[in-house]
Structure formats: structure tokens, C-alpha cells
């Protein structure tokens, strides 16, 4: 089935596009050129494209192709930004270098090769004249490596909130390196402000030491009630930052302190639950300081999905067919845009993409051998889901 589409797939095309996109730096904050490049490709395949400038020079790109009859709406989502190049590269991070069967460059696996595979699949579908139902679309959002302004903006639009399913073209390749998520943890970033009372540091009894009270909370975080989830186990917490006290040396009891704690949430734990849990812990400590518990972005709700979900079934069968083996699945400790699309909005999501290599590190790469099967899976998932 779908031979007419598969015949149109051209493995050298995804490779060439990956190389070209590595040559377009798109560090978070500077995503416009990437969006314009991808838009031009999709325009040429006959997709209807639109740029949504959420912030000046920071657009989300959407491209849609309508099927010949009514049906479901499937979107392929990727992010246009990369993390900065950083130190330690053997080659120019913004010039694709092919060596030992790998393409090296910033964004090679996170996630320009995923975008390239999507483009190869979409071009094949469009060129083949294959008739499908519903609507096929892709979304390229910015700011994923920071606070997901792009993905949140996309969900502001009722057109995208009403999608039937989303394929996230991330590097979850279904092997031991990155099993396909059957759900993701959520996360909350506690921002805790402790207000004490200043006094001369030689007379601490006259003040209330905000740093010491904050430390008592930090030292008792093991008493947070982390709920046990059958599949995920328990969430985790990690204090990320703690600051308080003088700027210029002075012997003063600090009147304020602030600390941040990252907490991964398992399904069954909501952001509100996490807030209540911290409040309960703080109240139990009977501190003299006033403690303000807030959360700051980014925050994500956890989610799980089931194998009964049509998009999961489609992915599972296509994976077995193309890879000649069953994919590995897991309930993953991590955060992707699926936390927003599925965790917040309830849109069923799957993740599939080329295996990652040194993502976020120096000498990031993607193996060439992963591009053809991924392009093929993308094409077949679309064809089956929208049949």
C-alpha cells in the first residue's frame, strides 16, 4: 500500500535539507530565518502556509494541505530553535560536516533532521497525488529551548487546539537510547520567597533570619509527599538556586531569601497539588518568616496515553513494518511540547524521530542511516491515519 508515496521518497533530499538547515543558525531568539526557509519549501509543495509573528521576528510557521474529503486533522510539530553552539566543537557548528555516516552540526538531531524528514515525507505525499481524508499540517514553533512561547501561542488558536493528533518529530527513536513515551512527567518550578526581619547580625535574636528559615525548608524537602504512580514511580525534586543576604558586606540578619526548586510531577499530581504540598510542608515547620510560594514558568502538566489511541496504534504498526521490530516504550522523565499539547490540551501526541547524538553538547550529530526510515514512517503514519 501507499507505493505511490513511497516511490516519491528521496533519502538524499532529507540529508540535503538537514545540511542546509544546519547552515541557518537558529539559536533561541533568532528563529525567523529557519521559519522562512521551511515556509519556502512547503510553499513549493503546494501547502498553504502562514507565519504567525507572536513576537517581532519570532514567528510560528503553519502549513496545511487539505485532503479530498472530510476527516481527521494530523499535525507534525517541530521547534525551529536550537541551543547555543557552546564550546568544544571539532568543526564549525553552523556548517554541516558528513563523516563516518554522521552529519555533524548544531541542530543536527535536535531537531533539524526531524524537520527534514517531515519535509521529505510531505513532499512525497503532495507529489504523489495520494488522496487522503482530513487535513495534514506541520507546525514549526519557536522558543522550545527556553519557555515555549511558540507552543503556548499555538494553543491559543482554536484551529490548532482542535487537532486530532500530533506527531512530535523529536529524537525518540524507539530503541534503548530513547524509548517512545507513553506519557511524560510534568514539572513545576517553585519560586519561594522567604521574608524575615533585618537586625544587626550581632543580635540575631532581634531579627528573623530569612536565609536560615529558607534553609530549613530546603533541608526538609524530603518530606514533600511525592505520589507514587504505577508506571512512572515517583517524581523528583531538585533545588536549582538559592540566594539571600548582603550585596555589599554588612553584618545584617538577612530579611529576604529566595530559592527555586524544580519538581517533576507524575500523573495524579497537578501543579495545584504541588503548590498545596509545599505549603503544607512549610506550615509544618513553624517558621517565623513569612513564606510566599509561587511557581514561575515554565510549568507543565504530566500526561499518559494508552495504546488504544488511534495515533499510537498507527505509530506502533508503522514502526514494526518499517523497522522490522517492535518499538520500546516507557513512561519518560522529561518535558517536551507534548506536555502542552496533550498535558494541557488533551490532544493525543506521539514522538518519533531520528536517534539523537550529543544533543545540546559539542559535536552534535545525526546518523544518516536514520533518515530514510524516519521519513518513511512519517509518510506512512500520515497516509494511514488520514485514510
Amino acid at each position: 500500500m501507499y507505493e505511490e508515496i513511497l516511490r516519491k521518497l528521496d533519502p538524499s533530499y532529507a540529508r540535503r535539507l538537514t545540511e542546509e538547515m544546519i547552515g541557518i543558525p537558529s539559536v533561541t531568539g533568532d528563529e525567523e530565518a529557519m521559519a522562512l526557509y521551511v515556509k519556502e519549501k512547503l510553499d513549493s509543495y503546494g501547502f498553504e502556509t502562514e507565519l504567525n509573528y507572536v513576537q517581532p521576528k519570532r514567528p510560528n510557521l503553519h502549513a496545511t494541505l487539505k485532503g479530498s474529503k472530510l476527516g481527521k486533522r494530523l499535525d507534525y510539530n517541530a521547534h525551529s530553535d536550537t541551543v547555543p553552539a557552546g564550546e568544544g566543537w571539532a568543526t564549525d557548528p553552523y556548517k554541516a560536516v558528513v563523516k563516518d555516516g554522521k552529519i555533524f552540526g548544531r541542530g543536527a538531531c535536535d531537531m533539524k533532521s526531524g524537520i527534514a524528514c517531515t519535509l521529505e515525507a510531505f513532499r512525497a505525499i503532495a507529489d504523489s497525488g495520494h488522496e487522503f481524508a482530513g487535513e495534514l499540517s506541520t507546525s514549526l514553533v519557536f522558543d522550545q529551548e527556553a519557555t515555549d512561547i511558540g507552543a503556548w501561542a499555538m494553543m491559543e488558536d482554536s484551529r490548532w487546539r482542535s487537532l486530532d493528533a500530533i506527531v512530535l518529530t523529536y529524537s525518540y527513536c524507539g530503541d534503548e537510547s530513547k524509548p517512545i513515551p507513553l506519557g511524560l512527567t510534568g514539572k513545576v518550578l517553585y519560586d519561594i520567597k522567604v521574608k524575615g526581619k533585618a537586625a544587626h547580625g550581632f543580635r540575631p535574636h532581634l531579627g528573623v533570619n530569612a536565609v536560615e528559615d529558607a534553609a530549613k525548608i530546603v533541608a526538609n524537602l524530603d518530606r514533600l509527599q511525592l505520589k507514587l504512580h504505577n508506571e512512572f514511580g515517583k517524581g523528583t525534586y531538585c533545588t536549582l538556586k538559592f540566594e539571600g543576604g548582603y550585596q555589599i558586606y554588612s553584618v545584617v540578619v538577612p530579611a529576604s531569601a529566595r530559592f527555586e526548586v524544580n519538581r517533576l510531577l507524575v500523573p495524579g499530581e497537578t501543579i495545584q497539588y504541588a503548590l498545596d504540598d509545599m505549603r503544607h510542608l512549610v506550615d509544618s515547620l513553624n517558621l517565623k518568616s513569612e513564606v510566599e510560594i509561587a511557581v514561575k514558568p515554565p510549568k507543565y502538566e504530566p500526561y499518559t496515553c494508552t495504546m488504544d489511541e488511534p495515533i499510537m496504534k498507527t505509530l506502533d504498526s508503522v514502526y514494526r513494518e518499517v523497522m522490522s521490530r517492535a518499538p520500546l516504550y516507557e513512561h519518560a522523565y522529561g518535558i517536551t511540547n507534548a506536555n502542552i499539547f496533550q498535558g494541557e490540551q488533551g490532544i493525543p501526541c506521539v514522538h518519533i524521530g531520528p536517534q539523537r547524538g550529543e544533543a545540546h553538547g559539542a559535536n552534535e550529530y545525526v546518523k544518516l542511516e536514520w533518515l530514510p526510515p524516519v521519513s518513511k514512517m512519517y509518510a506512512l503514519i500520515a497516509a494511514r491515519y488520514l485514510s
Binding site: 550581632f202 540575631p204 533545588t239 540566594e243 539571600g244 555589599i248 554588612s250
Partner: protein
């Protein structure tokens, strides 16, 4: 009777309007710690005019101490009046310009009004009287205006590195009244500033079990500081601690287990507790917590030695006698949980120190002020102490 007469002549040269004028002028010369130079030059000019032998000692670039001396007729004891020229920075909430002396009834407001330009002004009045009178004295009468008392005490430390270290006694014009709530310290605590570095292991913040969280281990130490072993001193009681600062974790947001955290704890030491003891005590506490992080217990400046004087010490007896004569009551004494330049001068230098100054309101706070009717009494007490000590 003859001695009384001689004091009368000296005391007649005191001019309390001069004290207020000098105090107003000094408040108008900002001298927030590190910026003491202009006040040092002002004082030098004043002492030059009075006929004192003056020196500026450059302690740090642009930060001089001023040292002024007047020799007596014969060889004898040496008495120094010492005042720090620096003030704390301006805090928020002042009702008036902190650098302009404003009279409100019996109070004179301004930054440094009591801490301690008021004491310096009283000393100036007395030192001027000595210069202008025919009162005979032996030995040497001197003044030291020092920098940096509100920070690291570098000014007093620098004085000890000069021949000043041979003076027989020092009167510090700190705002200490000798009243029950402002007793004259017979001893002062020392202090140590712990500088504690916690070294953990970084990891992704979603997998905290793969790292060692330096911030959380620091938090555990801070939450257990009450387990430090404070020695009991029969006069001081116990020392205390106060965490002054902590910093650890990311600079640019990233979900990483912090590998480094640093915090500072101020600890007051009573006689019987040394800085080495304090370090060992903290090391013992840290070890008992069995943390996974590596913890370095260091100290950083300023470090001050504590001290105690006997009530029977000659300068204390002199102070008591003069105080009774001027104020009509016996002075109160205390063992002070604080730090002044006496920690350096007495604690390190072994020079006995008396504290006396005009009555303060709100040192280190907004609307700092001094009680004007205390200025003449303090000048008078200074004069009689000097006359008797150098007789």
C-alpha cells in the same frame, strides 16, 4: 584644691558651641565607609590650626588615617582619643537630608551624628581646650581618626603597625553612655566570619539522584547551625551566629543539579573561644551530618579577637571616678556582644580602651541622631580624664 583650680582653667577653655559647629560641619562631609579622605583632610587642617603635630597614614589608596599629637611638658604616659571617620551607607527612609545636620529640640539629626562624629566633635573640643590652655600635662595627648571601622577595621589595624601601638590607653568616642542600657564594655566578644564552600556533583535536574546537590547540602548545614557548641563564659554568656549570605545554583536558567554553593555565617566568640576552635566546631558539625558533598570550612576577614578588662584596671578606675564626677552617678558596665575598634586595639594590641560618647538614637538606622545636651558633659569627662591620666 590646687588641682581643681588647674582643671577649672582647662575646663573654661571648653567651648560647646565649637563642638556643635564641628559636628555640623562633619555631618556635611559624607564619609561613608571607603570614602573617608575628605573628612581626614578636614581633621588634619583643624589639628594643624590647633598646633598639633599631624600625620596622614595612607592605609589604602585614597584612604588615610589622621594622627595628631601634642607633647606634654615632661615625659609621661600617652593617652589617645580615637574615632572612626567612616559611617555606614545611607539607609532608606530618612526624613531629612542625612548629610545635613538638622536640629529638632534636643536632637541633632544626620548620618554619623552619634556613630561617631558626635564623639569626635567632643574630642575636638577637649583637644582644642588643651591646646589653648596653660594647663600643664606630661606625656602625650593624641587623636587618631581611623578609616573602615564599619567594614573590616583596617584603620585601627594600621594604627597598631605604627608607634601608636605604644600608647598607654585609648578612649573611643563610640556612642556608649555608661547608662544601664548602654554600659561601658569591660569586654567585647570576638568574631569569626565562616566562609563555607560546598562542592557537589552536577547532573540534569530531572535526575537528581545522579548528582549531589550542593545547595541542598548547604541547606542541611544551615538548618543544623544550632548544634554548634557555644562555650559558656561567666560574664558574656554564650556567643551567637547569624548566616549573612548564601549563593548557589544557576546564573542563567538551566535545570541542573547545582555543583557549588557558598555561604557565610557570622559567629561571635566569647573569651575562651578562639577562631581555631570555631573552625573545628563547624568541621565537627559538618562531619556529623554525613553529607555527600565535600565541604570546605574557611574563614574570611574580618577576624576579631575578643577581650576582657578587669574593673580594677587603672583606666577603668579613672573612668569610673571621672564619670561619677561629671554625671553624678556610677557608670554601668557590660560585656558587649558586638565589635568595635577596641577588638583590634585591646584584643590584638593589648591597649586598654574606654568607650564613652554622647547619647545615641538609631545608630545604623534612618534619622540617626545624638542628644545635644550630652555633648558638653562628654567633652568635660574627656578633659578631666585626660588631665588626670597625664598629670
Amino acid at each position: 584644691m590646687q588641682r581643681q583650680t588647674m582643671h577649672d582653667e582647662l575646663l573654661s577653655k571648653l567651648d560647646d558651641r565649637y563642638t556643635v559647629k564641628k559636628l555640623e560641619e562633619m555631618i556635611a562631609i559624607p564619609s561613608v565607609v571607603k570614602d573617608e579622605k575628605e573628612l581626614a583632610h578636614y581633621l588634619k587642617a583643624e589639628f594643624d590650626k590647633l598646633g598639633y603635630e599631624t600625620e596622614l597614614h595612607m592605609v589604602e589608596q585614597g584612604r588615610p588615617n589622621i594622627y595628631a599629637k601634642l607633647k606634654g611638658k615632661k615625659k609621661g604616659k600617652r593617652l589617645n582619643f580615637c574615632g572612626h571617620m567612616d559611617t555606614v551607607p545611607v539607609v532608606t527612609g530618612w526624613d531629612t537630608d542625612p548629610f545635613k545636620a538638622v536640629k529638632k529640640g534636643n536632637l541633632l539629626h544626620g548620618l554619623g551624628a552619634n556613630d561617631m562624629k558626635g564623639g569626635i566633635a567632643c574630642a575636638l573640643n577637649m583637644l582644642r581646650a588643651f591646646a589653648n590652655s596653660s594647663h600643664p600635662f606630661n606625656g602625650e595627648l593624641s587623636f587618631a581618626g581611623v578609616i573602615d571601622e564599619e567594614a573590616y577595621g583596617e584603620g585601627a589595624k594600621a594604627m597598631l603597625r605604627t608607634e601608636f601601638n605604644k600608647v598607654d590607653a585609648v578612649v573611643l568616642g563610640e556612642p556608649v553612655t555608661g547608662e544601664p542600657d548602654g554600659g561601658m564594655p569591660l569586654g567585647i566578644t570576638g568574631k569569626v566570619l565562616y566562609d563555607i564552600h560546598v562542592h557537589g556533583v552536577a547532573a540534569h535536574g530531572f535526575s537528581p539522584e545522579e548528582g549531589v546537590n550542593a545547595v541542598e547540602d548547604a541547606g542541611i548545614i544551615l538548618a543544623n547551625l544550632h548544634k554548634l557548641k557555644f562555650k559558656e563564659n561567666p560574664r558574656f554568656g554564650t556567643g551567637n551566629y547569624s548566616t549573612l549570605k548564601i549563593e548557589g545554583g544557576y546564573s542563567v536558567y538551566s535545570v541542573v543539579v547545582p555543583a557549588e554553593c557558598r555561604f557565610e555565617v557570622n559567629r561571635l566568640l566569647v573569651p575562651g573561644e578562639t577562631a581555631d576552635y570555631a573552625v573545628q566546631d563547624m568541621q565537627r558539625l559538618v562531619k556529623s551530618l554525613k553529607l555527600k558533598s565535600r565541604v570546605e570550612v574557611k574563614t574570611k576577614p574580618p577576624l576579631y579577637a575578643g577581650y576582657e578588662m578587669k574593673k580594677s584596671a587603672p583606666v577603668v578606675k579613672l573612668f569610673s571616678e571621672v564619670y561619677g564626677e561629671v554625671f553624678g552617678v556610677a557608670p554601668s558596665y557590660c560585656y558587649h556582644k558586638s565589635i568595635t575598634d577596641a577588638n583590634t586595639l585591646t584584643g590584638e594590641g593589648g591597649i586598654p580602651c574606654i568607650h564613652l560618647g554622647p547619647k545615641p538614637h538609631g545608630s545604623h538606622q534612618k534619622n540617626e541622631s545624638v542628644e545635644l545636651d550630652w555633648l558638653p558633659k562628654v567633652s568635660k569627662a574627656y578633659a578631666i580624664m585626660a588631665a588626670k591620666f597625664l598629670a
